[in-house]
Amino acid sequence: MKRFIMAFIAAYIFLFVWGWLVNGVLLKDVYAESAHLWRPESEMRSLFHWIIIG
């Protein structure tokens, strides 16, 4: 169980950082081209807990 928790935390941190780098930084301009498909940034920030859970 101890190993499971450590592996889970490591995977969570990696997925979070990787997701931020790829989707939040690398693909930011690509997403900006289709802004009508996304929530406004202020709305996304208010729903940030869904990203953390997901």
Partner: protein, 146 residues
């Protein structure tokens, strides 16, 4: 790997995923999807993208069958269903994130999550029931004590 059984399990999974996807997402959730029509392609355009849709089902069915065959080498519907349940729950993560960044409704969010969990649990049971390893490849090993 028992490729003959793998092939039958893959075909069964592909057919099931396709039919379930049509029933759940295109029929049951049709009205829910219409509420966010601007996020989705117009229905008239969908026909020209049918090849991509079929490819998506193919990829899901192939790699999920591979996952079941690789990690549940003995087969069994129950074990396949359990792996499918976990894969369906993995899908819940991206759906929650999609909800945070796209103007989706709660109805769509829960519909997509429930759909993925049900779909992969049943697909796993089907694959587990069909796929069996070639008998000459069954090997029993004693797990080392920890």
């Amino acid at each position: 790997m028992n490729w003959k059984k793998f092939f039958f399990a893959f075909i069964a999974a592909f057919v099931f995923l396709f039919v379930f996807g049509f029933l759940w997402y295109a029929t049951l959730m049709h009205d829910a999807h219409r509420e966010v029509a601007t996020l989705l392609r117009p229905e008239a355009d969908l026909k020209s993208y049918f090849g991509w849709l079929a490819l998506g089902q193919f990829v899901m069915a192939f790699f999920f069958t591979l996952l079941c065959a690789r990690y549940i080498p003995g087969g069994r519907a129950g074990a396949g269903a359990m792996l499918g349940l976990l894969v369906g729950l993995v899908y819940a993560g991206p759906h929650l994130i999609s909800f945070a960044v796209q103007p989706l409704t709660f109805k769509i969010l829960f519909g997509w999550i429930a759909g993925a969990v049900i779909q992969f649990t049943i697909a796993g049971a089907i694959i587990g029931a069909i796929y069996k390893p070639a008998t000459e490849h069954i090997m029993y090993v004693r797990e080392p004590s920890r």
